[in-house]
């Protein structure tokens, strides 16, 4: 979005004075600092000097420290306070299974589980999620060991382009632990926060009902 004139004339932190290019070049290719045993974030080759600056926690003005627990692993991060859980998952931690559809909590493509409950990650500030247990589609199941809901979506052809699918599956998986009536219409209401532009709804409902009925 474009800057307004008053934005230019009164920046309030040193972070705002940095151009995006300067911010990224200081932080390395990931854009932020992360220190974790399990994230394989291939950094673009940087000079030793830049890396020394980058690994100091206070090197980037205006960032905040947060430790995120994602899919059972812990990630110590230094991030922009404005960063949403969605952007942090995708851009910093490279969990790209969660999608950005509308970025305003209106489509559900970004659905993840936070402490076991489904939420729109585009409206969650990552800096506020210290100690929260976050589960993404990658944590729900893998190709070799699919969650029953994932397997059912495959069996029932519950997708076309696939963009809404991870959000649909995360919602449906959480639905199994929520109060919900037995009918197709109950499932439609429960999943109304996940929009599918391709219109795969009939197969999505079939996939979800299959799992619910076999439980």
């Amino acid at each position: 979005m474009s800057l307004r004139d008053d934005d230019r004339s009164s920046p309030m932190t040193s972070l705002e004075k940095l151009s995006r290019r300067a911010f990224l070049s200081r932080a390395g290719a990931a854009g932020v600092i992360s220190a974790t045993a399990t994230v394989a974030a291939p950094l673009v080759a940087a000079t030793t000097q830049e890396q020394q600056v980058a690994t100091s926690e206070s090197a980037i003005p205006g960032t905040v420290a947060v430790t995120l627990k994602v899919n059972g692993d812990t990630h110590k991060l230094q991030i922009d306070p404005r960063a949403t859980v969605l952007d942090t998952l995708r851009e910093t931690l490279h969990f790209t299974g969660t999608k950005k559809g509308c970025d305003h909590g209106q489509c559900g493509a970004c659905t993840v589980h936070v402490n076991g409950r489904r939420a729109n990650s585009c409206l969650l500030l990552a800096a506020m999620q210290q100690n929260a247990e976050i589960t993404t589609i990658e944590g729900l199941g893998t190709p070799d060991k699919m969650h029953p809901m994932q397997a059912s979506f495959v069996e029932h052809d519950g997708y076309q382009c696939g963009y809404c699918t991870s959000g649909q599956i995360m919602s449906a998986a959480a639905l199994q632990h929520e109060p919900c009536g037995p009918a197709d219409n109950d499932v439609k209401e429960a999943l109304s926060g996940n929009i599918c532009r391709c219109g795969a709804y009939p197969n999505i409902v079939a996939a979800v009902q299959f799992v619910r009925r076999s439980a």
Partner: protein, 332 residues
């Protein structure tokens, strides 16, 4: 989004002190409380709200739902919409509140959203949401682009020449019919505000929406006990079957005795600049039989002062029929 300092409040008095430094609690406050963030983060992404400091209040002990002293129910400000809607006592005794919450938003949003956050939810007016347009609520004096513009979703009751924005919440319509009171703690101590006095009308100052002052923190809401045998209904009419705001909605609490209505509360949603309590409809119904003709008369009384805009004239009749339907359901 404008950047900000994020602080986490560990006590209620820390939170109050932090926000008391703001010159206002209304539109454009530079210091804001954040709980679920489902409304605030949305508006921050649009630069409609540009707080310099966010006070994270999620750690405060304000999420309980428990009986109120002297009867009734006390709901903590941080109780999530999902938890309120599915609470046994709310479902059994304040069904209209459960119905209203479940008719709004999506499960994901209801999981994140809090009672007080919903109370303070902002309008969905497209011009309010877009900083490219003049909007007296967002920027006093810049004009109302909705008057004569796209106003199909906006208000017909309580509007002014400066602003025709509608309050979009379902929860608040139910709370209005239930005569909830709102407990606030602030720089000068605690006070209780009946919901009928909580919201202001736009008038000449649409940037102000509530009576809250800097430092005020909603701690809980209290629902008074209802008469035994009272029934309640929330009926929401909208373009889509789910996940859509109301064109018109009605919250009814009603009790009959010996063939006549001896207790009735009526509130309308989707049509008011604030959640719309209709004392006119209640007066029309009190002591009368539950008949279609009496319901229709009440609906006429409720919408008597309606001022339709260029694109929402249909709401006048729609709101009347919504009220009649809701009353019919509640007395079936």
């Amino acid at each position: 989004m404008q950047t900000f300092e994020l602080i986490t409040a560990s006590t209620i008095s820390d939170a109050v002190k932090a926000q008391a430094a703001s010159p206002t609690a209304q539109q454009g406050a530079p210091v804001r409380f954040i709980a679920g963030g489902t409304n605030l983060v949305d508006y921050m992404k649009l630069n409609v709200e540009t707080p310099r400091k966010l006070v994270d209040i999620n750690g405060l002990p304000l999420d309980k739902i428990e009986p109120a002293q002297g009867g009734g129910l006390k709901i903590g400000a941080l109780a999530r919409n999902t938890d309120v809607a599915h609470h046994d006592v709310v479902k059994a005794q304040y069904s209209v509140l459960s119905q209203a919450i479940l008719s709004g938003a999506s499960t994901q949003l209801r999981n994140m959203a809090t009672t007080a956050g919903n109370l303070l939810q902002k309008t969905r007016c497209v011009y309010y949401r877009d900083t490219a347009y003049g909007c007296n609520k967002r920027q006093p004096g810049s004009g109302c682009s909705a008057i004569g513009g796209h106003n199909r979703m906006l208000a017909i009751l309580g509007t002014s020449e400066k602003c025709i924005a509608s309050n979009p919440s379902d929860q608040n319509v139910a709370l209005t019919a239930l005569e909830a009171s709102i407990q606030v703690t602030g720089s000068k101590g605690e006070r209780v505000i009946p919901i009928a006095q909580f919201y202001t009308l736009p008038g000449n100052t649409p940037e102000r929406e509530t009576v809250l002052e800097p430092g005020d923190l909603v701690t809980h809401i209290t629902l008074p006990a209802l008469p035994d045998g009272a029934k309640s209904v929330y009926l929401k009419l909208r373009d889509r079957a789910s996940y859509e705001f109301a064109l018109a909605s009605a919250a009814i609490v009603i009790k009959q005795s010996n063939g006549s209505i001896d207790f009735v509360r009526v509130a309308l949603g989707g049509v008011g600049a604030k959640p719309w309590r209709s004392l006119e409809a209640e007066k029309s119904l009190h002591g009368k039989a539950a008949t279609p003709a009496n319901f229709r008369a009440a609906a006429e009384a409720a919408l008597h002062g309606a001022r339709p805009q260029s694109q929402n004239g249909f709401k006048v009749e729609l709101a009347k029929r919504c009220l009649v339907h809701a009353l019919t359901q509640a007395t079936a």
